[in-house]
Structures are given as C-alpha cells and as structure tokens.
Amino acid sequence: MSTEARPGAGTPGTETMTVREAIRAALREEMERDDRVFLMGEDVATFGGVFDVSDGLLDEFGDERIRDTPISEAGFTGAGVGAAATGSRPVIEIMFSDFLGVPMEQIMNQMAKMRYMFGGKTDMPVTVRTTEGGGMGAASQHSGTVHTWFAHFPGLLAVTPGTPAAAKGLLKSAIRSDDPVFFFENKMIYEQEGDVPTDPDFTIPLGEAHVEREGDDVTVVATQRLVGESLSAADELDGEVSVEVIDLRSLYPLDTDTLVESVEKTGRLVVADESPLSYGVHAEVMARINDRAFFSLDAPMQRVGVPDTHIPFSPALEAEVLPDADDVRAAVENVT
C-alpha cells in the first residue's frame, strides 16, 4: 500500500488515490519487486520531480536507484538504452514531452531498432515517462502532446492513461515489459482521483482499451485528460444521447477489437485526443474502424483535438485551442 493510502470508495481491494500517487505507487512497487529497476532524470531525486511524482522515493531507494542526471537527455536516454541492453531495467523521466526532441536519435535509431537490427539478440526493457498537455499557461515549449510520433514509430509501445487505475496498472506493465514503452502523463490530471487496486500483482496489459461507461448511440474513444472530459460530456447528454466512453489506454498496440465491437453497436464514432488534429492519433483510430467496421458506420467519424496550432501562452488563447467536454459534446451532437 502506498503511504498516501485512503480506503477505496466502496470497491474492496482498492484505495482512492490521485494519478500522481498511482504513478508513484507503481514505481515504488516495481522497484521493490526487481532491483534491476532504477529511475533517472533531471531533478527526480532531491527535488522529487518538478511535478512531485517521485517525491520521497530518494529516501526509500537511495541515490543510486533514484538518480538526478545532468541536463543531457540524449546522453542519459542513450545510457538507459545501453543499460537496458546489458541487464538493467531503467525508467527514464523526460520532464516535458517537448524535450523529447533532444534524445530523439537515441530513441528512434537505438532504443526502437536495436532488437530488430540485432536479429532479436537483445531485450530492451526501458520505460520512458514524460508529461504532456496544455492548460497551465506553460506556453508552446512546455505544453505539447507528441505521443502520435511514438505510436507511429516502429519498435516502440506507447500508453496514455486517463485514470489513476490505468496509470498504475499500465506503468507496472511497462516496467515489466522487455520492450521499450513510452508512458505519457497528462500534467493536468495528476490530481484526479479514483479507485486503484492495491494488489501488488495488479497490472493492466499493454494493448487493451477499457470501456469506462457503456452507451448505445455514439462511441467516444478518448485519451488522458479527455477521458474525464468525455465522461462529463456523456453525463451532460444523458437522457438525450447514450454515449459509450472508452479510455484508449494504449496507442500501440491499439486494441482494435474493443473499438470495433463498440462501433458495431453504436454506428458512430468520436475520437478525442489532445494531439494536433492532422496526422494525429484520431486518424489512426478512424482508419482501424474503416478497415474493420466500415459497413457499421452510420455517419462520418468525428475528431476532437488541437487545431494544428502550438499551445499559446495567454489563457484566453489557450482555452481556444485546447479541447474539452464542450468540444466532445459538440462532436457527439454533430453525428446524432
């Protein structure tokens, strides 16, 4: 049990925790379980991470396994790859996903390709944690949502949890995986609470979407912050339209089966994700439905995302480009 435990709201074997606490609990449990696991990144130790995610872990695990790095994302990400190829199981924190440009070479040509190029002669058990999303006035270089890149690039797995349970279960799976997994944390939902299983063997398989709310008329497939926004939109529409909300959870592999099953029922699809719209996650979800449920579709599929801009600083502008429950609702109304 995490130190922040509160009894779960009614569900036995769970406790209520925030997304932040869920991530911290996953890190703690996996580090306790396997001493090859370590965390490294900028200010993850003494500072506890700029979003306090790893706060306290330095005291529990010491500075060999909770490591502050120089500001060298390419260097320490590459070191993570080299460490993973030689038997360690690093968790790398990249403070903001916008900084992923710095270590991109190591990610695309080493981390993602090493197993394949070597004909399978190495595992690559590395997890990359990073933060995404706008909403706190952090401006264009600290607010991006770049996960489509990592979903697209061969050789990487990518997950985007929308709830505390998903955050904990997916991070534990990521750390146990022998493949590189990108774990994208939306920074606006760290405080969001939910019930999370306490069993240290609880994990969520990579590649499974989850129906958060059942409905009959429209399927909304959402990620991260937009899972909660979509649930709010569904609540608002309750009585008028019956909305099924799915937390996509994994971008790659993508759980096409669950999506197809839902669209076969509803005949309508909205995809809500904070990526820029063009060439974003939305299009791939739509393409999968086109491939497997084309004849079930009753209307054009809809997408909700950032309209191909960067995230501007001013709150007046930021609110304009960031998708929220109203946008999901408008999209649902568009197809019904």
Binding site: S140, S314, L317
Partner: protein, 344 residues
C-alpha cells in the same frame, strides 16, 4: 559601439539603471505571480543582474543575443520595454509576443533579441546562426548567447561552440554559472572546476569572471567582442553568480537553505556597483535613491500598462502559425471569428 560605456558617468548610470530595472521588474513579477496575476512559469533573474547588464552594455545595439528560460534580465539589458514585457507576462495582446509567448518566450527580433527560450541549451546554435548571417553579409554584428551552467551539459551547446570555433563565427558564449540547474548543484552536472575549461575543447579563449561584478563581465565581453569582429572567432566567458530566488516561483527549494543564499547576498551585484560608484564619487546616496524611484515608477507604469491592456481575442490563437495561409488552420480561424471562439 557599446550601448553603455562603463568608463563614462552616463554609461555607469545607465548600467545601474538597467540592473535596478531588472531587480524591480522581477521582484514585482514574483509578487504578481504569488498573487495569481501571472499564469504559467516565472523564472527570476534576481541576484544575476550584473551578468546580463555587463554583457549587453559591451555589445553594439545591432548585435544579437539569445536568451534562456530565465530571460527577463537579458531583455531589459538589451533595451526592451518593461511595459511590453509585463504585458506579455500577463498574456496580453500588447505584449511582445501578443500574448502567445509569455515569460519564457519574450523576443524582439528587430532589437536583436532572438528570444527567451524554454529549452535548455537551444540558444547557442541559434546564436551561431545569427553570427553566420553576419559573417555571410560581411557586417560587424556579433551574436552573444546566454546559457546556464546546467546547459553546458547539453549536446547542442557543444555542437554550436564547435561550429562557431571551426568557422570563426563572430560569437560569444556566455555561461551564467548560478551554481544550480533547478535543484541540482553544478558539481553534480559537471566534473570540471570551472566551466570555462570547456573552451579548451575548442581551442578558443575561455575566462571565468566574477559575475557579481558588472565591470568584470563588461570587460570580458568587450574583449570577446573585439576578437569576434576581428574574425578571430568565439570566446567563452563564464560568469560566476547566484540566483537569490528559487528556480521558478513556487520552488520550495529542498536543495539549499537560507544560509547558502546569505553568503551570496552579501555580494549583491547592485549593492557592489553602487558602493563602487559612491566610493569613486560618481554617485551620491541621493542620486541613487532618485534613480531607484524612477525605476520603481517605470515598473509601476509597466504593471498598469499590462493590467489595462486587452486580452487577445480567441481567434488570434490561429494567427502567426505560418506566413502562408493554410486551409487546415483557416477553417478554425474562420469559425472562431464568426462564433467568437472557445468551443469549436
């Protein structure tokens, strides 16, 4: 020509004024942030004023600088208007970036200020590029890049300095060693005693100067500028300094305590320069107080300018993505212009 000559009385006053302006601007910004008036992140330059001011005073008005996330000091030192800076911190349309940038992206390209920058280490390559333009055009401009001690660990800083050294670009790399990168002390980021030793890897001159002494910084940069203009390539100047505030406002600073800061406060760069001028008879206590009042008034006006300025309209979020008109964005802009925006 230098923008403020440290040898003349006018230049000295100007230098003092700029340092005071930074101090006052940032103290005010810190307060406003605490009051919830300013969104996002704010990184203050308090304690480090001698670095930006000493460096920019020794530059020509046409020279370029690149800055960092901790950019307010560089902006003011380069002559930017505190009112438009403050308006930018407020996210207002009259800010330097029309509210799109905020504290971390204030820029005035026409004034040679190529932007504060939220990416640690991104400035030096940009400065190399500005210096390349100068070299290609054969003019006498120089590009100076500010970066932190932490940034020196970044690969792109290395690449930029190597490029500049190999191509003899008219450039200056100024490392502001304020002893920390966020909460990590410089010794945990580097193995060298002085970051100026880095210069050896490029066979360029490298100096460590007292970054609390505006004259020392000025002189080092003036020398470096001469070399740059003469075609002798870049110089690396490390300025030893200290930030008196947290990394960003709101930082609870688990990595140091008050006593550590106190030691450096005693070397306050503004106090030191004021003392020096008073001792030399160039400044009186009264003169100083007058200057300080002027600066306070300037910043008060900057705040009222910022407060009363307009927020940008939602549809302005779609401006400035491209020079060309792009249908993908135009469709949203059109909609926002007609329905007033916010929900699409």
């Amino acid at each position: 020509m230098v923008t403020a000559d440290v040898e003349t009385a006018d230049g000295q006053t100007e230098i003092l004024r700029r340092m005071l302006t930074i101090r006052e601007f940032d103290s005010t910004a810190g307060q406003l942030f605490a009051d919830g008036e300013i969104p996002g992140f704010v990184h203050l330059y308090i304690g480090e004023e001698a670095v930006a001011v000493g460096a920019c005073a020794a530059l020509d008005e046409d020279d370029y600088i690149t800055s960092t996330h901790r950019g307010h000091g560089h902006c003011i030192a380069k002559g930017l208007d505190p009112a438009r800076m403050m308006a930018e911190l407020y996210g207002k349309r009259d800010g330097y970036c029309n509210g799109k940038g905020g504290s971390m992206h204030i820029a005035d390209v026409d004034a040679g200020m190529l932007g504060a920058n939220g990416i640690v280490g991104a400035g030096p390559p940009l400065a190399a590029g500005a210096a390349l333009t100068a070299q290609l055009q054969g003019d006498e401009r120089v590009a100076l890049s500010f970066c932190g001690d932490g940034a020196v660990a970044q690969g792109q800083v290395h690449e930029a300095i190597n490029l500049a050294a190999t191509w003899d670009l008219p450039s200056i790399f100024l490392v502001e060693n304020n002893q920390f990168g966020e909460g990590t002390p410089v010794e945990k980021q580097h193995n060298v005693e002085n970051l100026s030793e880095t210069a050896e890897a490029y066979d360029i001159p490298g100096f460590t100067v007292d970054g609390m002494d505006v004259v020392a910084v000025y002189e080092a940069v003036a020398e470096a500028r001469k070399r740059a203009v003469a075609g002798d390539g870049p110089t690396l100047v490390e300025a030893d300094t200290y930030r008196f505030r947290g990394h960003f406002e709101g930082d609870h600073q688990p990595y140091r305590d008050e006593d550590d800061i106190e030691v450096w406060r005693e070397r306050d760069p503004i106090e030191a320069f004021k003392r020096r001028l008073i001792d030399a008879g160039t400044l009186t206590e009264d003169g100083y107080e007058e200057l300080k009042s002027e600066v306070e008034a300037t910043i008060r006006e900057a705040v009222s300018f910022a407060e009363s300025a307009d927020d940008p309209a939602p549809y302005e979020a779609y401006d400035d993505m491209f020079a060309a008109s792009i249908p993908e964005i135009e469709q949203f802009a059109r909609k926002a212009r007609t329905d007033g925006g916010e929900s699409r």
